[in-house]
Symmetry: C2
Subunit: 768 residues, 2 copies
């Protein structure tokens, strides 16, 4: 693990603060200071125009473009969808005495930027000294409203420090933005007009015809005389603010963005809807907007805060993670998913992976169950695309794509899109995990069951019978561990498929008994045949799960134990990342793994494996794991906590919460590791908190990292908000919202209500 | 084997004849009627301009273009070279009374085309009826000189059947030709001029700067008044021929093409060289050119003919194969190799594969040993590129590319270029096979040994030790059998690498004894260390060769015997070719093979395996082989002959000689299967003739297909030209050139000289 922190930002419990401007770090900071509200996201770029290196990124969930791919083979995708860079609704140009503000060229001092986690705002302050000696303080504040999805607010304030005069502003909406990966603008202008107070533009994507309306109104501390500016793919307003030395003048832009990714509206319909929203937004009081945003975040922190005493860096880190997770997704818009980088960059193309169900879903499940259900609704909504994909690869049922933005497979590396089968089992696991912890049988008996049937069909037809072993399994696959490229009987996939078959059968058995009408409906809709049930039962029963009887170590795939050995610690640090420094084929020829397949299923179905089995497998696989997936260390940390290796647990946790803040992977510039952020939450709650959610009842076996004084976290269990506080002596559980819940702590059943329960911290549960 | 013949061409022992024009079959015929002389090749397109579907292909060995490929991973190629479509030196336009001849639009009758295998000419005849009722017979004859590499000759003759008048001709040199795969012209004009009698043009490839000069002179039965035509990338001459009813007028274009692929000449140098060659060619008498071509081919047929009595179709077929092999390659130009489609089309990009050493080399070895050596010289010349490739894939020594035109790896599918390791062992096998059968120790002790050392280095560093088995082998590989995409310990590769190590060690041991100076030189040049010899010895000794002890069946790779079974005969005919109709990943998940890996090494090192072992492995693998490689059936046929399955031997031979003439694979339109053509020769000589060339002495165990009356073939053995005639009763061996040779026939040592040896045909050696 050749990860080194780049300590740069100020440590603060409730804010991310950068002092001074560092052009080298600009893209990294743009990622970290991203704002979003699930509907849209915007990187922390300099809206006043910056001639240095920058990724001016503005993204909308669901707005995507298409790239065609030349490929002669059946079953390999021929086009993909990607999240497209969209309107720069923050566009601003500031001119004073003929000089234009540009961080790359202007003389700047006292530069500070601050992301405030309680008010949900991003603020930049600077002092601009002109060639003629005039000094102007400029303060940019922006927010993306968590309560009004379409609304973005930008406030620009000016304070002349040593002069009085006037500043010229151009503020606008720019669709001429370049999608960096493609090197071109992917938008065609449809219409742009100033109507009354609203200045607006509407454009559509070149290939997919996704439409986006953007409009704004202006408010100011002084009356504004505006002049419209029309350019290609751009509309704006020019105006002048009068400045008096020592006083602050400001203006506020209330921007409304309204996306139509599914062409459900006519151009006129969308335009009118947008104009109405923009006009309404124009009547808002900016102070009210700021206050509403703060109130929203107060609510979030009340239910979802994690408090760490004695570790300011991780305190800041975990709050940043929780903040970004809520910014990226909170389930207000079914049909959205969570891209690997959220709405913060173009790398990974805005695509969602199995991370959604495996890493993100637990966070939402215990913080915002509506969002958890909404994520599963995405899979239900895209069941048709998954069924088409199954056909494309000569199978039946539903093959959920390894990478997608709209339900279609959008990974253009066949070795991943055709061999990695773990998204379907992740969906099935997600349904199981969600229903088990929420009791939402109604979802299960309608949409859930339908998905489970189609998923089981896929795994029944993609799998084959080994000729020698007589067992069922998956040939020609890549597990989540991408360092074993094409193998037979990957243990993770085989076990997950077995679980999926069994859960489907159990669900259908229960439905027959408890909900015969729903059973009949889903059976009819899916044309379910009784032989299929027999078939799935047989395949689950005969599923190949290779294990070394002597050591209890699961073999990651057929032949893994014969793979040539490499001591991963012998690999020079300079050779990382291996993808860049090793010949592609060489990566796949050792007993070296990228991330933990065996340990992963031992975590997901924790209750099925003894502590001894976990220990044996951890001790075999951990020294072979290179952690080139940012999701890997947290799973190791969680297992290490459980098997009594607290020091290792803490080491693996070390960069979980600050992966992006300290730029451990040296690629935060491309965008945040949004789904890894969810693993940081799991690391604390499932790792140190020792929570397990796969059993009949939620359980905890808390430990306390030695360097922490105490920590607390909260989980929502069937409507009850539980707070768990762990300090050096005890574990305190309290219901915060009046209800009561039965849970297991250190193996003991307890009932928790508002009066709380105090238990001693187990022996040896403090690390170090 | 869902192959069906498309019987269309006339059967003739010495010619390929098509009667009537079929636009649907035009591209197929263009391939079949290709001419070439190793230096250049030209498809049988209509030189007078054809507005229908056509691939106007003109190719030069060594002239190539570069295509850049986006790829982020180390060890995967980032650019490739391909044979580029070049000048149309046959360009002709014929106009009569304002109408232009065009097979797609003109009224045509009595169309016949004929490729004459004894004169090496291609002739097209047609009668063109104009709108006004005039009938003009036109005869196009062309040749590409086998003795003057640069020279192409085109004769166009006119016979007005019912009128007298004049015809307008434009003849020229066109560099505006489109490379079909890229959809654009890859040439920049450098210079074009008419100087004296020579009209000439010179151009260079856009990305690689390969230069080509093309110039022509005209001769005619009547004085010509020409007018120069200059267009972009084109130069030509207009003239008029006077025609008298019933009489024939003609003109002849003597074209000279002079390529400079290695930029060894300045533009002026190449221009002057080309002009001189063209001026010299202009003085040739066309009758002499035709006569010289016929004499050349007579010589070929004297040494290399295969004569089949009682089977006119295979008689024609095998002569077409021999004709194409000599057209494609005869070793006059070291540095050339044999593309999978020779010089007859763009598919496979002109790239050479392992086919060269595995399928083509034996033909040349026993017909034209100079050409065999020249093929090996190509590998020596490109040793530097192979060493660079080894470095690129993190290995040492030389990694010969899976597909190449200039020595660099040019296969853009990483799964093939990074996983298929069998070209290096093919080169090593080729050296061994060549030296064994020619006794050319001098080649071995200089260039051969150097290649062997670098090849062994590669296989020593690419291989790894299995952790469980403790054996050495190759992990993450694809054998020649491309239906098992990424496996460990492919039996073919492991065995071939073992042979390669052993041959290298044996060669070096011999050199130490017999040629210590050469040994010292090659050891110094390659910085050979003694530990390497020990290392190779140990790796050869511990090479993993998995075999089922009970059945004697070699396991194609680790786990092959567990691969899910499919009855290949259960696959509907409509699903072929599988690459187009099956999901890409599905191809690789069965005990189904594309071509015979195990049987292949049992053929190459025939003497190492008993007949029983061959039988057991044939009976296991044959029913699992789908023959989607056109090289596959002949190997099966050869083995079937040996193990006493003459009916199967004949069935597998059935489409060997007429693969292209009868368009069995339905893709002859893309170009000829040039390297498969070599397998047809092997099928007769090694299959029915029962020749083996891997033992201490050449041996024969002839059989006679039941439907043949007799057949004969000839092989050159250390300077002695042996003729072997097999009829229903006997085998007759004669030396044709006065020498004598010792060979083995039916297990018996015999000496063959000019007086001949007659032996009875073995019992049961007639099929059926």
């Amino acid at each position: 693990m050749a990860k080194v922190a780049d300590k740069y930002l100020k440590v603060d419990p409730w804010a991310i603060i950068e002092e001074g401007f560092d052009a080298e770090r600009n893209r990294t900071s743009e990622s970290i200071f991203s704002l979003g509200n699930e509907y849209m996201g915007v990187r922390g770029y300099a809206e006043e125009g910056y001639s240095g290196d920058s990724l001016l990124g503005s993204y909308f969930n669901g707005l995507n473009e298409q790239l065609d791919i030349g490929n002669p083979y059946k079953g390999i995708i021929r086009s993909l969808r990607y999240m497209v860079n969209a309107v720069d609704w923050l566009y601003t140009r500031i001119t004073l005495d003929g000089e234009q503000l540009d961080l790359a060229k202007s003389h700047i001092s006292d530069y500070v930027r601050r992301l405030d986690l309680r008010s949900g705002t991003y603020r930049r302050e600077l002092v601009w000294t002109l060639g003629n000696g005039k000094k102007l303080k400029v303060i940019f504040t922006r927010l993306v409203s968590m309560t009004m999805s379409h609304l973005g607010l930008q406030q620009v304030a000016f304070q002349p420090l040593n002069f009085s005069g006037s500043v010229d502003i151009c503020t606008g909406l720019d669709f001429g933005i370049i999608h960096e990966e493609r090197g071109e603008c992917m938008w065609n202008n449809l219409r742009s007009e100033g109507e009354g107070a609203v200045t607006a533009i509407m454009a559509s994507t070149v290939n997919t015809g996704n439409k986006l309306f953007s409009g704004f109104t202006l408010q100011s501390s002084q009356p504004l005389q505006t002049t419209r500016v029309d350019r290609e793919k751009f509309i704006g307003q020019n105006f002048t603010l009068e400045l008096t030395q020592g006083e602050t003048a400001h203006y506020t832009k209330l921007a409304v963005n309204c996306a139509d990714s599914e062409s459900s509206r006519t151009p006129d319909g969308l335009w009118n809807e947008g104009m109405e929203l923009a006009a309404t937004a124009g009547k808002l009081n900016e102070a009210d907007v700021f206050a509403e945003q703060t109130a929203y975040w107060n609510g979030i922190w009340e239910t979802s805060d994690i408090c760490i005493e004695g570790d300011p860096e991780n305190q800041q880190g975990i709050r940043f993670c929780i903040f970004q997770l809520f910014q990226t997704y909170h389930g207000d818009h079914p049909g959205f998913n969570i891209g690997a980088k959220g709405l913060t960059g173009e790398v990974y193309r805005g695509l969602a992976f199995w991370d959604t169900e495996s890493y993100c879903l637990p966070f939402y499940l215990f913080n915002n169950p509506k969002a958890a259900r909404s994520l599963l609704e995405f899979r239900y909504k895209t069941l048709g695309e998954a069924m088409q994909r199954a056909k494309d690869v000569d199978c039946e049922g539903a093959c959920y794509p390894i990478a997608t933005i709209d339900g279609t497979e959008s990974c253009d590396l066949w070795q991943h899109s055709n061999l990695q089968l773990h998204v379907g089992t992740a969906v099935s696991y997600g349904i199981w995990h969600y229903v088990k912890n929420t009791g939402d049988q109604s979802f299960l008996y309608t949409k859930g069951a339908e998905m489970l049937i189609q998923i089981s069909r896929f795994y029944a037809t993609r799998g084959q019978w080994g000729q020698r072993t007589g067992e069922f399994g998956y040939f020609g696959v890549m597990g989540p561990d991408e360092f074993q490229l094409m193998v037979n009987n990957n243990c993770y996939i085989n076990l997950m498929a077995k679980q999926s078959f069994e859960y489907t059968l159990e669900t259908l058995r229960l439905m027959k008994e408890q909900a015969p009408a729903e059973y009949a409906e889903v059976a009819a809709k899916t044309a379910l045949r009784d032989e299929e049930l027999t078939d799935w039962c047989s395949k689950a029963e005969h599923m190949r799960i290779p294990v070394d009887e002597e050591t209890g170590v699961y073999e990651e795939h057929d032949g893994f134990f014969d793979m040539p050995h490499i001591d991963i610690h012998s690999i020079p640090v300079t050779e990382f990342p291996l993808y860049s420094n090793w010949s592609y084929d060489r990566l796949y020829r050792y007993d070296m793994i990228k991330q933990p397949d065996v340990l992963m299923f031992m975590f997901l179905y924790s209750g099925q494996f003894s502590k001894e089995a976990k220990l044996a497998n951890y001790e075999y696989y951990e020294p072979r794991c290179i952690h080139e997936s940012s999701l890997s260390p947290s799973i190791h940390s969680i297992l290490a906590s459980e098997i009594g290796k607290p020091e290792e647990a803490y080491q693996f946790f070390e960069f979980a919460t600050r992966l992006d803040l300290d730029n451990y992977n040296r690629n935060t510039r491309e965008g945040l590791h949004t789904t890894s952020i969810a693993a940081a939450w799991m690391n604390i709650v499932y790792g140190f908190g020792g929570m397990r959610s796969d059993g009949p009842r939620l359980s905890f076996q808390p430990t306390l990292p030695e360097r922490w004084t105490s920590y607390s976290f909260q989980v929502m269990v069937e409507g009850v908000l539980l707070r768990i506080v762990v300090d050096k002596n005890k574990v305190t559980l309290t219901s915060l919202n009046g209800g009561s819940a039965e849970v297991i702590v250190n193996g003991q059943n307890i009932k928790v209500d508002a009066s709380g329960q105090v238990l001693p911290l187990g022996e040896g549960m403090i690390a170090g």
